[in-house]
């Protein structure tokens, strides 16, 4: 599984920035752009490709803060912080969700390369934080277990 993932994310080593691909436009005040192709993807590899990269490198400069186990998949708190210089964008991918891409954020200069939000997880899955920094793609991955809860279901 791990080997496969690395392969998928590393092929090519593309350097096309999200912004350059028209995925995220920091200057778009109304935020009318919505990358349907990327949000329709159903695997990490597809999403990375749809976001304009042919690959991404694992990096310790990308940090995911989230619980190892979620008591409920409807709300999973997740924060992503990038220590990489010139971080331009952060995306959150959930491998086993029906649609992989959950959210992407354009980070203009002056804004911390940090976002915290809450996402839905259909089942136990890897979460990827994909970061575009200085035009290159980096990522971190963390497994979050989603537990069955309550009674009567």
């Amino acid at each position: 599984m791990d080997a496969k993932r690395r392969e998928v994310l590393k092929t090519g080593g593309g350097v096309l920035a999200l912004a350059a691909a028209g995925v995220i436009r920091p200057g778009d005040a109304l935020g009318q752009e919505w990358n349907k192709a990327a949000f329709d993807t159903k695997s990490v590899a597809e999403t990375v490709k749809a976001l304009g990269a042919s690959g991404s490198t694992p990096s310790s400069g990308v940090e995911i803060t989230a619980p190892d186990i979620a008591e409920n998949g409807a709300v999973v708190p997740i924060a992503v912080e990038s220590k990489l210089p010139r971080t331009e964008a952060i995306a959150i991918l959930i491998e086993k969700n029906p649609n992989t891409l959950s959210a992407e954020f354009a980070i203009p200069s002056g804004t911390d390369p940090f976002v915290s939000t809450r996402v839905k997880m259909a089942e136990t899955s890897n979460i990827y934080a994909l970061v575009v920094a200085d035009g290159k793609y980096f990522h971190a991955v963390k497994e979050i277990k989603v537990t069955i809860g309550g009674c009567g279901g």
Partner: protein
């Protein structure tokens, strides 16, 4: 009268004022009976008839504080007589099917489709396989249940009977009488027996 004494003792701890004028038991009973009649309504398969208690339910409600030995023995004896074993004589089904039943908590709620088979809700209260981290603790852990006991005919019979009617072995148990109350079919119970006793089941590995 021991139940009344217990009730009075329990209440003495919380009454701040006017305990002397606390309502009589008969007044409380009348009020409760009225509430049960007026505060619930039939919805879907959950009819108001479900609030008519059988003997065991009535006794367990009445003696919730402490169950006198005589009452408990009486319940267990009466419940023993209800257990029906499968006519095929086969008590061990398929543990894989059993695991699915153990995971499912649906069944008999007014929001459940009446024709959909009920689950056993087992993980709600018990640890079973090691892989499932989300398990309850109202009942004891059943991990390695079969490994510790083997799967002799006597053990199979006990296990089937316990799931069929827990109160036959432990009066006023928290565990539903799955077979007796028609929640699970005989076949479903044999799958759960396999989950608990089959050496290949995750419970015993």
């Amino acid at each position: 009268m021991p139940s009344k004494t217990i009730l009075a003792l329990a209440l003495s701890g919380i009454c701040v004022a006017g305990c002397a004028t606390r309502p009589s038991d008969s007044e409380t009973e009348r009020t409760v009976a009225e509430m049960i009649k007026t505060s619930f309504r039939t919805r879907g398969q959950a009819t108001v008839a479900r609030l008519s208690q059988d003997d065991a339910q009535a006794l367990c409600s009445k003696h919730a504080g402490e169950l006198p030995k005589g009452v408990s023995d009486g319940i267990e004896k009466a419940q023993q007589a209800t257990i029906r074993y499968p006519s095929s004589g086969k008590l061990m089904g398929d543990w894989r099917e059993g695991e699915r039943i153990a995971q499912s908590g649906v069944g008999k709620q007014f929001t459940d489709a009446p024709n959909r088979p009920a689950g056993g809700s087992c993980y709600n209260c018990h640890q079973l396989s090691k892989q499932e981290l989300s398990f309850g603790t109202i009942g004891p852990s059943l991990y390695q249940f079969g490994k510790q006991r083997g799967a002799s005919e006597a053990i199979q019979k006990y296990t089937y009977g316990k799931i069929y009617n827990a109160e036959a072995f432990s009066a006023c148990s928290n565990m539903p009488r799955f077979g007796h109350n028609g929640v699970l079919t005989e076949e479903q119970i044999t799958h759960l027996v396999a989950l608990l006793l089959d050496p290949d089941s995750p419970v015993n590995r």
